[in-house]
Symmetry: D2
Amino acid sequence: MKQDKHTIYQKQGFGGVSGFGQRCALILVDFVNGFVDPELLGSESIAKAAEQTVELLTFFRQRELPVAHTRVVFDVQGANHNVFTLRVPALKKLTETAFESQIVEILKPLPTELVIKKQSASAFFSTGLSDWLTFHCVDTTLIVGCTTSGCVRASVVDSMQHNYRTIVVSDCVADRAQEPHDANMFDMQQKYADVMSKQSIMERLYSLGGKLP
Amino acid sequence: MKQDKHTIYQKQGFGGVSGFGQRCALILVDFVNGFVDPELLGSESIAKAAEQTVELLTFFRQRELPVAHTRVVFDVQGANHNVFTLRVPALKKLTETAFESQIVEILKPLPTELVIKKQSASAFFSTGLSDWLTFHCVDTTLIVGCTTSGCVRASVVDSMQHNYRTIVVSDCVADRAQEPHDANMFDMQQKYADVMSKQSIMERLYSLGGKLP
Amino acid sequence: MKQDKHTIYQKQGFGGVSGFGQRCALILVDFVNGFVDPELLGSESIAKAAEQTVELLTFFRQRELPVAHTRVVFDVQGANHNVFTLRVPALKKLTETAFESQIVEILKPLPTELVIKKQSASAFFSTGLSDWLTFHCVDTTLIVGCTTSGCVRASVVDSMQHNYRTIVVSDCVADRAQEPHDANMFDMQQKYADVMSKQSIMERLYSLGGKLP
Amino acid sequence: MKQDKHTIYQKQGFGGVSGFGQRCALILVDFVNGFVDPELLGSESIAKAAEQTVELLTFFRQRELPVAHTRVVFDVQGANHNVFTLRVPALKKLTETAFESQIVEILKPLPTELVIKKQSASAFFSTGLSDWLTFHCVDTTLIVGCTTSGCVRASVVDSMQHNYRTIVVSDCVADRAQEPHDANMFDMQQKYADVMSKQSIMERLYSLGGKLP
């Protein structure tokens, strides 16, 4: 008889917890116009996740904790096109000045916040994000954004591989379809990251007093 | 009404093809004893995928095409333990001489084949694999191994991010549970890699004549 | 008696040759206004190296071979400041729109050429340059730019580490001072890269006929 | 009239200081038998630097601060040979069990210390060293080893690029020839790292009391 995935993973010792370290950064993955619109590359649930993120971003800004945003940006004339654009040509529309590639108004970066322009799935891949986190003495990342099964998943795996204690904020990530969202939340929680709600994270950070944040 | 994931992905332009380039490498991810045993970290379907891989490995060896194997190897005394072992302590058993961390006998590496010892999910992460592929003029990777939702997925994403045309060999990858296997095959095929059977790959390589391989 | 460096390096087997592979890219490191001006961060010899590079760039453009330029670009409000700016605060002036950080007019990139914005010494460090070279099937890099002892040296070391056959174009690199230039040319030639004049490179590429380039 | 390098670098704002952060790691680069022997790839001054390092290593061990060693190790049958071995064939002798590639007896790693096997110049390149430093909450690296103009320089540049405050221990680094040693000490101090004597570092760490180390 086939065993349920939960039973198998539990038996083999997955699903552990990495917890919080000493200092958190908030990483907002690809909350851009093109990904909150179901008619482009997004969905309504992504738009909701963006709305949910406003409170968390404000929380981080008030405490002057490190915040990084990512956007997908490709050259108009294709100089940095790659295997990703070969497979998903729709990505080519995300050029520097295109409406689709601008970060949504409600999460607009401050001039003091890092904005990473990437051409891959992971926020960490060839972007220097991990080195920026080193400079800011961060050991814990909170990851929000879209899509759960795409750039969020890729960023979460890399965040753990770079040895950051990694937390996926469950109500601030979303996908263009429900099934991949659910499947990837399972994978991430079993292997790579803690999964916590926005509320429980803020309570936890409050309870840590001045230290974290 | 909620739309089916296939409908949404097709409408938004996912599911493209990257195809073959000029020169392939075969990358065998974590086919070690510990991952083919359901009582340890594996499953029967992973054992079957390993058996299926024998023919493909022979095909590559006969043509003297580049072959790389990966193993997960941690230090006995913990010097290279990391967030991954913090979350999945069972990985600590995979030490240099442990039975669990040896590559399965039927796929035993030749002394001329690259064997990568890794401490993360991706075969590419901090291992120099992409640089080795550069040295061997490879532009196309065939990925086999386990688990589909773990190290295979992470390796496939990185392979594409490094701009290799990436092909997941459908009958030579497997997982410890069926549902994550299926979900990750969908994600990879939609976004990161072509999915082909072993047979269709070998036929394709034959048909390309002397060139590839 | 102290031995001469040339004697020691020769005896120990340094100074080998890596030669040309099948396909070259031209990488122009930091030929920006701020580095050709002795009153800013540059020197006259850097201005001369930039002039010498015009012919080589034209040669590459005529053959439609891959060309990449780098600029150092820091955020106006400091979001991506790092240990480099901590040590060399003058670098902070190199912002997106500053005159100092624009590529010199005579080497102005075409819209089809890759322009990398970096915050470190190496053109490869966290920039995705190696992945772009993979996409363009490059196995050989020609490196020009400034400064020899700074970003050129760092880029050359990384180019070799990524397994590109690396060639420093001797008349198209320069430094703000002669002594570091000479010392670094010695180091690079002994360990990391072939050193060739522009003329000998172009003759070599001609003689290879249609293949390279 | 040509200006002296010191004058030029000072005028243009180089030679700054990055100092100490909160937590140091000691990184011993390539102190292996083959590099302390003038008849192989080394010199007497490298043997002296190794002797000088014993006290510093003891200091770090007593305080249980992170220590990492590197060795160059190539496969006997050449599976991981690369452009470096193409240029410097003598490196191929440095195999896993070769006397030349063993760390010198007086600095023999403890089983709890990280030992990195590398095939490139930089201790950081494709080795996961930066991720290990992240796991151990390190923000400051002390670099010792050999050779100054080779693997030390490459490691120091990468250490700074990864945003570690980097300190070269002046009496614990050496080269196979004096001139490249001196030239690279200048370059590193001007651009990438603080240069301090072993004694001044230990005094500084003492004065910081319990905090650092």
